[in-house]
Each structure stands twice: as structure tokens, then as C-alpha cells.
Amino acid sequence: MLEGLVNKLAQTPWSIGLHESLYMYAITESTHVICIMLFVGTIAMVDLRLLGISYTNVPVSQMLSRMLPWTIVGFVLLLITGAMLFLAIPIRTYHSLWFRLKCLMILIAAVNIAVFTFKVERDKATWDLGRVPRNSKICAVISLSAWASVIVFGRLIAYNWFDCDSINSPAMAGITGCPLDP
């Protein structure tokens, strides 16, 4: 079903237009990369605070309330430009091993954010400037690793090592959803 949707998407004038445009694709991708600085940059600084190794003179509550709005701005811009990049090259991206791994890492990061928001940070008033609890540090490490992987996997989408035409094992065909030629 998803594959049918992607195939339809590829035939839309929006997709073809973005794919064939002289500057729009480059502008979109550049904006996507620039927003990494805003999004992952602010997350990294917050995570370093949650690890208790830096910015220890800033209350955790202030770190979250004053930095996260910028993280959200970055996320919205990344989501819009990311969707446009997918729209420009839908079929290849859909089957990309790296794109699939990137989505998996975003999912892990999202679950981690949910756990942090609904469990870990609830009693932050008791450790706002004190000793950072262990579960906060674990969340920070998961966050840093997941977002770093998202950057790396995102960059690797550009490489064609595992495109459908070079898939020749059933396992890889299963992971990428590519047809396996006999």
C-alpha cells in the first residue's frame, strides 16, 4: 500500500518539478543541512547538561524551557525540507537502506523523548541544579547517539551502494523492499 502511494507520488507534477528544478532542490537540501546546526546543535547542548558534564551552572528547567523552542523551530524546518527532498526522489528514497535506518533512529529518538518528558523530567525540580539522576544521563546518551546516527545515515542516502539494482540477497531485498531478480 505504502509502495503504491510512493509510486503515485513520483508521478505528481510537484515531484517531477522538484526533481528537475535547477535551484529548488539544491536550496532545499542546503536548508536541510543548515538546520542540523539549529536542531542537533541545541539538542547536543541540552544533552550535555543532562549528562551533568557541562553548563552545570544553568538550571535544567531553564535549559529545557529556553533552548527547546529553538530545537522545535529546527525540527519543523527539517521536517518540511525533508518531506520536500523525499517528494523530489520518492521511489529511490523509499527503498533506500539508509533512509530506512534513518527513520528507525528518528523513531528511537522520539520514544526516548517521550520517556524523558513523561517519566524522567517530571521530578526535575528536585535536581534542577543538583546531581543529575542516572536515568537522565541514559536518556542523554541515547539522544546523542540516535541523532548522530540520523545525521550519518541521512548523508549516506546520497550513495548508491545498496540501490535496488545492486541488491542480490533475499535478506537485503526484505529490508529494502526491493524486488529480487532471479
Binding site: 543541512v33 539549529l38 546543535g41 547536543a44 529556553r66 533552548m67
Partner: protein, 154 residues
């Protein structure tokens, strides 16, 4: 010896050849370059947003104690990986306008950061002058990143 000649010599070097001929080296160096870019962005932004009054309320001089380390580490990694990337394809870069723009903005960004932005923040100074330097610093690094990405498109 002309600049083009130098580029050709670097391209023919063992290091350049090794990176160019490997499947994984260039992407790995490129990814590390991007990870360090994120860290530089975070360190510059946490200071800049605070100076401009739209980030942390903690004094920028206090934030600087932690931020400057990440800024330095990120820049060292960026410069090292950047040099490796350039060594693998200097002849291509020689003719690219985007690369030229990136190098000029890099010199400006480094100068503004280490000669004005960092010293002003470290001393706890504030005012219109410091805010102007902050905006200039952010703009300069934005230009470096944009021109850098554009190398791949031009």
C-alpha cells in the same frame, strides 16, 4: 609553480589517492565533518541566543566556560576532516566558485569568532556592539556552511 599545479600534485599524493579510491573513506570523513558542524552550531547558538536575549538567561560569560570547549573541539575536527576532503579532490575544488566563497567566509568567520566574539563574551561585555558582533558571527558561519554545501551542487 601555479596554484593549479599545486592542486594536481596534492591530488596525486598517496593520501589523496587513498581517500579517492576507497568506497567508505570519503563518506565517513564527510559524515564526521557534518557531526562536528552540528556541535559548532550548538556552541555558537547557545552563546549567541543568550547574548541576543532570546536564549538562556544565564550570563553568556558563564555559558562560555562550557561552550568554548565544544567550539574548539568542533572546529579542530571540522578543519581536519575538511582538509582530508579537500586533499582527495583539489583539482575539482580549484575551479569551484563555491569553494572559494567558503574559504573566504571561513577566514572571516574564524577572525570574527576568535578576535571579537569570544573575547567580548569572555569578558562579560554587552551592548549594541556585542550584539552586532554576535549577528555577524552567526551570519559568517551560516555562509561557511551554505557555501560548503553548495560545493556539491556547483
Amino acid at each position: 609553480m601555479s596554484l593549479l599545479h599545486t592542486a594536481q600534485n596534492i591530488e596525486a599524493s598517496a593520501l589523496g589517492q587513498t581517500i579517492r579510491e576507497s568506497t567508505w573513506l570519503f563518506p565517513a570523513i564527510e559524515s564526521t565533518h557534518l557531526l562536528a558542524l552540528a556541535m559548532l552550531g550548538g556552541a555558537v547558538l547557545i552563546l549567541s541566543l543568550s547574548v541576543l536575549g532570546i536564549g538562556l538567561k544565564t550570563a553568556p560569560a558563564e555559558l562560555y566556560k562550557s561552550a568554548h570547549r565544544y567550539m574548539n573541539v568542533a572546529l579542530i575536527v571540522l578543519l581536519m576532516t575538511g582538509i582530508l576532503l579537500a586533499v582527495s579532490e583539489p583539482v575539482k575544488l580549484y575551479g569551484r566558485q563555491a569553494f572559494c566563497v567558503k574559504m573566504i567566509s571561513l577566514v572571516i568567520a574564524l577572525a570574527v569568532t576568535y578576535l571579537a566574539f569570544n573575547p567580548l563574551i569572555k569578558r562579560g561585555l554587552s551592548g549594541l556592539g556585542v550584539r552586532s558582533v554576535t549577528v555577524l558571527t552567526m551570519a559568517a558561519w551560516l555562509m561557511v556552511a551554505l557555501a560548503g554545501r553548495w560545493i556539491g551542487f556547483s
